[in-house]
Amino acid sequence: MSQFELVLFSIIILLSGLVIIPLFARYQKLLIYISFSLTALSSVLAAAGGALAVANNFNQSVTIPIGLPDLPVHLRLDPLSGFFLTVIGLLSFFVSIYSIGYIKAFVGKRSVTHLVIFYCLFLIGMFSVVLSDDAFSFLISWEVMAASSYFLVMFEDERTENRRAAFLYLVVAHIGAIAILLSFGIMAGAATDFKGFSGYTFDAMRQTEFSVGWATAAFLLAFFGFAAKAGVIPFHVWLPEAHPVAPSNVSALMSGVMLKTAIYGIIRVTFDLIGDFPWWWGAVVLMFGLITALMGILYAIMQQDIKRLLAYSSVENIGVILIGIGLAMIFASFEMPLLSALALTAALYHTLNHAMFKGLLFMGAGAVLHATNERNMEKMGGLIHKMPWTAVLFLIGCVSISALPPFNGFASEWLTFQAFLLSPSLPSPLLNLLIPLGATLVALTVALAAACFVKAFGITFLGHWRGGHNPSPPFDSPLAKGGYRGVKGGKGGLEVDWFMRSAMILTAVSCLVLGVVPTLIINWIDILPEQLIGSRIAASAGEFGWLWLTPIAHERASYSAPIVLIIVLAVVLLAYILLHIRKAAVHRAPLWDCGFEKITNRMQYNAASFSMPIRRIFGFLFSIREDVRAVYPTGNPLFPKRLHYHLKVRDRFWGLLYKPVADASIWISRKVGKLQQGRIQMYLIYSFITIIVLLLFLR
């Protein structure tokens, strides 16, 4: 079977799944096993097909005679779509395994049939977005993806926040889709002088030389549309609402891979369809990337809800990817293909890496949610004793996302830094001075990400359980009690089942592997910069074999993840053995409480206090309301009985950008609503006036 057949076959499996699934609606458990095995199978096939397409430089298209009369559906598998198929397929394979364990908890509480159906549709949408080779099928797939994810966010629709989040998501997704539609319209129009449908195929757009004005309009519209989908600040407000409330397996897919389809769109439109661009386009992308990365991680640190924290951190990582793309565009427009290839490789590599570690983190957060029925970190703590597996796996995700060597987040961010450090060779003095400042913002972002994930892991898994006045985790939580098999009291007692665990183990292993062998990965994706920019870096990056990564030249910079891993492990082992030759006793003793003796679990540092120094330094970026209210016993104004502390950190963008628009649209609808009188005579008069006006103008 060729690569393309593998991919098409995987979509056919999903489509047939849509037919089969309703038949099992009465046997919910069986339904879960069958449907998620099908999605896992089709994801593997898609990932394999995509990976082979990248490896073999496969490029082939098919035309399926359905759709509009003049515009059949064009599908194409080329290395770029192959790469994104691999990213999507790989994570959705892991998540499908995870879903078997996760979704089972809903059995008996609510029907999961429609969740499974929309899950399949969601995968179909994502696979076909990257395969589409004409604007029409691209937008259809884009809408399938958006609509099915809307229903997935709505799954637990009895909660107000879910309905609100899903509505907001739908609105922003459609504003973005309109912009993308207009952008394709401009390109298709420019390709055929606004005649006929043939301009809507990507092939026609590729072969057209756009005039500067049309190209700029098309790029800006497309960038806005895709940025709204990717959660680029300031178009991000839907993301931290929608991602946390979806079921965790869906959050993993939405954050890990759905955002990446927008990255795919940006790369496809700029590098492939338009192809030739001035440097300031790259500067625009770079600017948005920098703002998104820094603001995203600052918002993430402020969160108390673990899934909201992860959602904001996805915003940050989208920013890091955009920074790579922006640098690649700047270098490409100054005819520096080698440096451009380096920056683009960094961006693509980070795309793959982020899919893995963010998927892992969302799955871990889902496991915690599953076991404790709690999303608020302020009420967690000490879970490392109750969920040892989840803790280790979540820690691997945290280490990867905090860019610590030798895990995968570090490899791609290191490449981004190398691209930055090479910017002095640009011929523009202005950029020479400004781009280093951008690099320092990335450094700040990376360091803040480490702080953010120390907080996420430390508050959730370490210390003591903070859950109110409960001394131990709530074994009486609704999920833990009846619905879930693996939960029993005692040590390790909240651990999730093996489906969820094995999915997380696989993802964690891929995080490590992707970080340890960067040269092999770069070798594999090298064909993408070759095709899009016309230069490759594998020859210089792998000059000294797979062990050493030397992006441009070995005198410039080098990094060897395997050696870092081996030596650190060797020294750790040696120190451990040397110190355990003589058997020293290990006593367990109570905490040092400064002689206070009444220490309680509520006296630990919590999520709000951990982020307090950063909140104070960067407070001007947020709208923060802090209320401290003391309650005094009657007749005693000196010694307060209780202190109430309320903290509300809000996104300034909501008030600045969205609220005026929302208010204005409500105001206009009110005014327009006055036309509705409910009387047939009035409507006849409206029609009459309209006809008269039309007759006057179109004489």
Binding site: A443, A447, R556, S558, Y559, V568
Partner: protein
């Protein structure tokens, strides 16, 4: 024979790191005692401290998890790896290509990440406070650090330490304003990263002022010994990185085993001077309020940026 030289130098360098780091700290403490009119415990006191801690039993907090027990080994291992990469004696290190400066920062970040987690593991307010403050300082130090690296890499066209040393020593001594600014920025950053006065006080156990000490407060026995030793090596390594990047004359060039004794001598002299400088700073200044640290690190960032600008404008 020339195949074995690098390996010998590598082993020698790690041995020097392990042995000399406590002496370096002893030297700093001794000078500090003298400058404050106290009698010192001698230059070898850090050895006695570590040796005593190694023989003691370990007392663990009741709910300490494996993270708490694993962290000292990891911090020690990472610090030794950094010591194997920084050109302390010679540029001819087989491991020097393993990591450039940015990877070295990443390696220190591993140590910091896990130390902060260990601080939160036991669940006292002290540990969390130390972790929170340490991560705040680290994130503010990072942009300044990157800008300093950027400035240095403009001159040497490399971020690999061995290459930087090679380029600077082979070009001979040139007074560069960009490097002068970068030195200033680096000193500020090194003080913040190693937790010295005026950012953090390594000698205090007063709850309001401690940062690094707060995180490792619950450690005892061999765990504490490893953490302390790694902390001493970190100070030693930051001094060595500063020497390698800004004052590399005296570090042995390639294939030159005879030059090694001279290199050791130069290293000792430079470290003595670095220690004296640090003591002068620590005696002359008082510890800052925690919310003045952003200004301190902001000025480090400003110096580094000025260095970059002066490179583009003057050189």
């Amino acid at each position: 024979m020339s195949q074995i030289y690098p390996v010998i130098i590598e082993i020698l360098q790690i041995a020097i790191l392990l042995i000399a780091a406590p002496v370096f700290i002893g030297w700093i403490r001794m000078l500090k005692c003298w400058s404050q009119g106290r009698t010192s415990a001698g230059i070898l006191q850090p050895y006695r401290d570590i040796a005593k801690l190694f023989t003691k039993d370990v007392v663990l907090a009741e709910n300490a998890s494996w993270i708490f027990r694993f962290t000292p080994y990891l911090v020690f291992g990472v610090t030794v790896l950094v010591g194997a990469i920084v050109p302390i004696l010679s540029v001819d290190l087989p491991l020097s290509a393993t990591a450039d400066v940015i990877v070295l920062i990443g390696l220190f970040a591993i140590a910091r990440f896990f130390t902060a987690l260990a601080g939160m593991d036991i669940g006292t307010a002290f540990g969390g406070m130390g972790s929170s403050r340490e991560m705040m300082i680290a994130s503010l130090a990072e942009p300044a650090m990157l800008m300093a690296i950027f400035t240095v890499s403009l001159v040497s066209r490399s971020t690999s330490l061995s290459q930087i040393v090679h380029v600077i020593t082979s070009k001979g001594f040139i007074l560069r304003p960009s490097i002068a600014f970068a030195v200033l920025a680096f000193i500020f950053i090194a003080i913040a990263e190693t937790g010295r006065i005026p950012v953090d006080n390594p000698a205090t156990h007063l709850e309001l002022t401690m940062i690094h000490e707060a995180m490792i407060l619950e450690y005892s026995g061999r765990h504490l010994a490893l953490m302390e030793w790694a902390g001493m090596m970190k100070v030693f390594l930051f001094a060595s990185i500063g020497i390698a990047v800004f004052f590399p004359w005296g570090i042995a060039p390639k294939d030159n085993l005879i030059y090694l004794p001279a290199a050791i001598l130069f290293l000792a002299i430079k470290l003595c001077l670095a220690g004296t400088g640090l003591v002068l700073i620590e005696t002359g200044l008082a510890k800052m309020r925690i919310f003045r640290i952003p200004e301190f690190l902001g000025s480090a960032f400003l110096f580094a940026t000025l260095g970059m600008l002066s490179y583009f404008i003057l050189e």
